[in-house]
């Protein structure tokens, strides 16, 4: 607002801490997002380490049961909302204005607001550790475990409010990127000439815009239930805990694509570069991304096959879930087509991108196996699901993001990351990831 800028003058330090705190520059905000998210990645990794150590030997007493619950809840919540989403946001900020030929995002101040709200939300969520009352009902926090009688301490209030704050940040950022990509393209940059990463950012942002209000409502209802005695998810008052699952997954399934589509976008940039070939079938990759974004809304109940939805609903969601594997598979064939006959240069970024494709195929296949409701009945809540989610989010999203880090780091700093260390990083990740999670497929089905 013109009138507002007259009243509040933006401090314009060029260097030092103050310049970082007051910056509205998209590249600097991208760096802030990236650095913050990496710190949270370490935290989430630490929590995962505690979980694995506790489970290393039978009857272990490393942590008590309450702490264990807090660890896996905070591990999941941190990795999804404080690591993968902001790491993607970091790339959105850094890359999008450069890729579409804009001077900055459409609303630079709103962009800075998004970052600081994100930081506050992350700190609020983790502040629960200080009072030893971290959330402990799983990253999905199913009702009615989350109701006051079953979770009497403040943990879930931290969880609900923390996610609410993070939602504000994500929404503000998503509004910003939709407007930026739709409106701020350089002359001649028509939609079908946009780089793939920009396309996937657009789809992701639209999903965020539409999906987050649903979880906002779910969290409001949870907060009201816990603090104002409402009956949303309380069976004694006539409420239905299943409604929470529906609201959570109406948001939660688009959220899955919010996590993976940016990584798919990055990989679609990296693979052509290191194959010395243009992306195979650009329009098909774009449309399959858009189709995933649309169909992602029609599959949420496949997370709930075992709650007893009735045969009709289960069949419908089973079919839509199997169908959504088609556009995903199309992308994989396009990537393979890009590699085919190319001059492949196995730099670290390329290794991570290839790792993404390989591991995502594994995760995608196990995904199709629990799209089938009868087989999902055997797999629900087992290690098999844990294996699946880590193959698509760790092997998928995080590998894609690391491909992006190695790919765009020189653009950011003018320096290449060390190739030897990078390759060591890749192989440690690749082997460690498979050794940890592949056996879980068997553990889950036994």
């Amino acid at each position: 607002m013109a009138t507002l800028t007259d009243v509040i003058d933006r401090p314009s330090s060029q260097s030092g801490l103050w310049s970082w705190i007051t910056t509205v520059d998209h590249k600097r905000i991208g760096v802030l997002y990236g650095v913050t998210a990496f710190i949270f990645l370490l935290l989430g990794g630490l929590e995962a380490g505690v979980i694995r150590l506790q489970l290393a030997v039978p009857d272990n007493t490393l942590v008590d049961p309450d702490t264990f619950n807090q660890m896996f809840t905070m591990h999941g919540t941190t990795m999804i909302f404080l690591v993968i989403m902001p790491l993607s946001a970091s790339f959105f900020n850094f890359v999008i204005p450069l890729a579409i030929g804009a001077r900055d995002v459409a609303f630079p101040r709103l962009n800075a607001f998004s970052y600081w709200v994100f930081l506050f939300g992350g700190l609020l969520l983790n502040a629960s550790f200080l009072t030893n009352q971290a959330p402990d009902a799983g990253w999905f926090s199913y009702a009615n475990l989350t109701e006051k009688p079953f979770s009497a301490n403040q943990g879930l209030d931290y969880w609900a409010l923390g996610l609410q704050v993070l939602g504000v940040s994500s929404l503000a950022a998503a509004f910003n990127f939709v407007v930026t990509i739709v409106n701020m393209r350089a002359p001649g940059m028509s939609l079908m000439r946009m780089p793939l990463f920009v396309w996937m950012t657009l789809v992701t942002s639209i999903l965020l815009v539409l999906a987050f209000p649903v979880i906002t409502v779910g969290l409001i209802e949870l907060t009201f239930d816990r603090n104002f005695g409402t009956n949303f998810f309380v069976p004694e008052g006539g409420g239905d805990p299943i409604l929470w699952q529906h609201l959570f997954w109406v948001f939660g399934h688009p959220e899955v694509y919010i996590l993976i589509l940016p990584a798919m976008g990055i990989v679609s940039e990296v693979l052509p570069t290191f194959s010395r070939k243009p992306l195979f079938g650009y329009p098909v990759v774009v449309f399959s991304g858009v189709v995933i974004g649309i169909m992602g809304w029609a599959v949420w109940s496949h997370h709930m096959f075992t709650v007893g939805l009735g045969p009709v609903a289960v069949s419908v969601f089973m079919i839509t879930t199997m169908l959504i594997a088609v556009p995903t598979g199309v992308k994989i064939f396009n990537w393979i087509g890009t590699l085919w006959g190319g001059q492949i240069d196995l730099k670290t970024a390329m290794l991570f991108a290839l790792g993404f494709v390989a591991l995502f195929i594994v995760g995608g296949l196990s995904g199709v196996s629990h799209a089938v409701a009868p087989s999902d009945n055997q797999q629900q809540d087992t290690y098999y699901i844990v294996a699946h989610i880590h193959y698509v989010l760790f092997g998928g999203a995080l590998f894609g993001i690391f491909a992006g880090v190695y790919y765009w780091f020189p653009k950011l700093t003018g320096k290449l990351l060390h190739e030897g260390l990078g390759k060591l990083h890749f192989w440690l990740y690749f082997i460690g990831m498979n050794v940890t999670f592949f056996p879980m497929h068997y553990l889950g089905l036994n």
Binding site: M1, A2, T3, T5, R10, S12, Q14, S19, T23, V24, D25, R103, D104, A106, F107, P108, R109, L171, F175, N176, V178, V179, V182, N183, M184, R185, M189, V209, L210, A211, F212, P213, V214, T216, V217, G218, I220, E221, F224, F228, G229, T230, N231, F232, G237, G238, G239, D240, L243, L247, V250
Partner: protein
């Protein structure tokens, strides 16, 4: 970093043409409203799913007063009309008109909120609280969040009136008024939906103790007619 300063100090009228020809802030507002559709959609879904599911009274038929709410609905419709007059005055640069119609819109909005406060109080006295039953839970949450939206709109309009006081609103800054108007009208259409669902259709719902077949269900009714 010099270019940052330029970007953030851009006045709207100097803005470069955008790829679509739509002003950035206007597009932002519409994307936000689109997002808000899902917000109210989820609240409405909760209300619909729990319709007629209250275990204890008071039930809607016991306390919903349709005539009173029809009046407050009229008031909100009037405020939408005042809002379009405010925008017209801004475009035509009639300074007195801008302030008058902005304040009128805010005033009518306040009347609407007054009706809501009165209604909430009345319900509380008649034994319906947010924790009484599912009707109370979903009713107060849905209408309460709508009321919060209206309140935010009133604050926004009063802020604009404050700015207009110095003659700073006019054809060049008409977008400032237009955006507030879009938000205000959106809040109005949400009320159109809520009024129909909770009052006109759901306002006569009885509890489960009555004959369940008397509990009308919107979908069946709708499909049955088609």
């Amino acid at each position: 970093m010099a270019h940052q300063t330029e970007v953030s100090h851009h006045a709207p009228e100097e803005e470069h043409p955008t790829s679509t020809g739509i002003n950035n802030r206007k597009l932002l507002m519409w994307v936000f409203l689109s997002s808000d559709c899902l917000f109210f959609g989820s609240l409405i879904a909760t209300y619909m799913v729990y319709r007629g599911q209250s275990l204890v009274g008071p039930y809607p038929v016991d306390i919903i007063d349709v005539p009173i709410t029809t009046i407050s609905t009229f008031v909100l419709l009037c405020s939408s009309f005042a809002m379009v007059r405010a925008l017209a005055a801004t475009n035509e640069d009639r300074q007195g008109g801008i302030i008058f119609w902005l304040l009128m819109t805010a005033f009518l909005g306040t009347i609407f909120i007054g009706f809501q406060v009165y209604e909430f109080n009345l319900f509380r006295e008649e034994g319906l609280r947010i924790d009484t039953n599912l009707f109370g839970t979903t009713f107060f949450t849905l209408t309460g969040f709508h009321g919060a939206h209206v309140t935010l709109g009133i604050v926004w309009l009063l802020g604009l009136a404050w700015i207009a006081r110095k003659g700073r609103l006019g054809p060049k800054t008409a977008l400032d008024v237009e955006l507030a108007g879009l938000y205000w009208h959106f809040v109005d259409i949400v009320w159109i939906v809520i009024f129909t669902l909770i009052y006109l259709i759901g306002g006569f719902d009885t509890g489960p103790a009555g004959d369940p077949s008397l509990v009308p269900h919107s979908i069946t009714g709708f499909l049955g007619l088609i």
